[in-house]
Amino acid sequence: MNFTVDKNGFYGSFGGAYIPEMLFPNVEELKEKYLNIMHEESFIEEYNNLLKDYVGRPTPLYFAKRLSEHFKANIYLKREDLCHTGAHKINNTLGQILLAKRLGKRRIIAETGAGQHGVATATVCALLGFDCIVYMGEIDMERQKPNVERMKMLGAKVVPATSGSKTLKDATNEAIRDWINNPADTHYIIGSVVGPHPYPDMVARFQAIISKEIRAQLKEKTGSENPDYVIACVGGGSNAAGAFYHYLNEAKVKLVAVEAAGMGIDSGYSAATTFLGKPGVLHGSKTLLMQTEDGQIVEAHSISAGLDYPGIGPIHSHLFETGRAEFLAITDKEAFKSAVLLSKLEGIIPALESSHAIASLAKLNLKPSDTVVVNLSGRGDKDLMTYITRKEEFLKD
């Protein structure tokens, strides 16, 4: 089974580049050049130096002793929350800004849900002196205010998306529209493994640093580079793609992708795409999408703005269809409780996105001998208001 992208950008039957002609030259230019640029020695050197000294890589692979005792398995946390800006997102934005520089672009646009990708984009734009415009759903701007202020402080212009559900999906539409209207000087930094080819592959490659480090660190700590499980949450799926990347062909390593069930898979307020989705095309690629019988995209719901997307990346649709990854769905409540659990057991306040991955530990039939790596994709500072205001509701029983 092949889990990498083919020359037309497909993972099995998912992927491709379903874009209007207006975007063809931009996407084609990127497709022609991204691999060559990523393999240039000067690029690799500049990227690796910044990953080390600016981002703070390698991030630790931490053996979580008390969490391990709680779940009765050997649990390691890959601490992407310790990256500069507080999440894995910067691995990708840093790579893409260096690529944009080599493509001769001057203006950067991005979409953001929780704001982590927006902050990571605004950060690297400040670092390299690029103009930065971040599209963000009006509702997300409200619930992720600190990140909006961070982006502004970093010099980015944050533009509210006021159409549709006013969340990530609509912010993505607005960013694509901006790109259609400004094709020459603008690079669009997509924040997840979604969008037209080559974005899913390019973003996965930039995030693959996560699994590369896990392998080396695990080998050092346990003698084996392969754990029994690698677990990551999936909205679009960039942190999961990064955590899975070097394990895709290691059949013995179980890959677990955790989606947001929201208020419950059948509640009408969910973001569990593999449970509720059908194949379709949105934002430039064929993938699993939550949609009506008429092919209208439905609004996703999750307590975590970063998982609130009605689709998943085409690579994940392929992993689902082939059975290579197991997909689980975690409710808002379960995620919330797991955030509190991790905080109390390990002194780590996780992002709400990452707490979905933590919550899945209770759903797996773990054995005491199992080695489990959970990708802790981001830290919870940005979610503090949610943790404060919704405590009563989620912790009452």
Binding site: N173, L282, H283, D294
Partner: protein, 262 residues
């Protein structure tokens, strides 16, 4: 080797029959009200429009600007669906003789089933389809045969940045006409198309086998006349949708708008 079947439908003959520049009007199905689709179509024909493009509303119309996007949202709230649209225009050919195109995004068409969609469109008398997010490569590989079997034209977009090689490929696989997007923009932008003289001249001189229609940012008599100096006709969308928004008398307002163009 050209193995393509030459389509002949109302659309392809419209260009050979017409001596004057063709006016193509876009409107969104089920807008302003759910049952306005056929009345709008009828009024457009009565006002002397040469062909129409009926928009199939989609929740995420990323090539469209705010006017058409809003009309799509309202049409969806009104309950418009592809199935419902086919119901509404089932009998249209009893009274509508101008070419009719459907414009929309690929996802609802995929959900409906491309083959069934083409069959049902042909059955109600649709002549062609415009799907901006169905690129030419995917069309050739997966759908060209189905379109040809149903005698449906597929209209491709080209832009100022489409390369000569790609323009040639598109011309080879297009039937009906080629839709030249006037400037780098989504629909309903306010960019001035008069700055595009060089691009239009190049297109006109490129020896395309298909007729050329210019669209995006064509909004009034002046821009229509300018565009049609370089093409077989032009397409007006957002300006027309804006004109019928809030209309108390669709027939009259449509007639006034069209008479204002030519």
């Amino acid at each position: 080797m050209d193995t393509k079947i030459q389509l002949k439908n109302r659309l392809t003959t419209a260009f050979s029959d017409s001596k004057k520049p063709l006016l193509n009007i876009y409107f969104t199905a089920g807008y302003p009200a759910l049952n306005d689709t056929l009345p709008v179509l009828r009024a457009l024909q009565n006002s002397g429009v040469d062909m129409v493009e009926i928009g199939m509303p989609f929740s995420d119309p990323l090539a469209d600007g705010p006017v058409i996007q809003r009309s799509s949202e309202i049409a969806l709230e009104n309950g418009m669906t592809i199935k419902g649209l086919f119901q509404q225009i089932k009998e249209m050919r009893k009274e509508i003789h101008i070419p009719v195109l459907l414009m929309g995004y690929i996802n609802p068409v995929l959900r409906y089933g491309v083959e069934k969609f083409c069959e049902d469109a042909a059955a109600v008398g649709v002549d062609g389809v415009i799907i901006p997010d169905l690129p030419v490569r995917e069309y050739i590989e997966d759908y060209e045969e189905i379109f040809q079997k149903n005698n449906l034209s597929n209209i491709f977009l080209v832009t100022p940045h489409t390369s000569p090689e790609r323009l040639k490929l598109i011309d080879e696989h297009a039937t009906g006409f080629i839709y030249a997007v006037s400037t780098d923009s989504t629909t309903g932008n306010t960019k001035d198309i008069r700055q595009q003289e060089a691009y239009f001249s190049k297109l006109k001189a490129s020896g395309l086998k298909n007729p050329l229609m210019i669209g995006f940012n064509v909004r009034d008599k002046e821009s229509f006349c300018f565009a049609t100096d370089y093409a077989n006709g032009a397409i007006i969308g957002s300006a027309f949708v804006k004109a019928i928004t809030g209309s108390k008398n669709l027939e009259k307002d449509i007639d006034v708008f069209i008479k204002g163009i030519r």
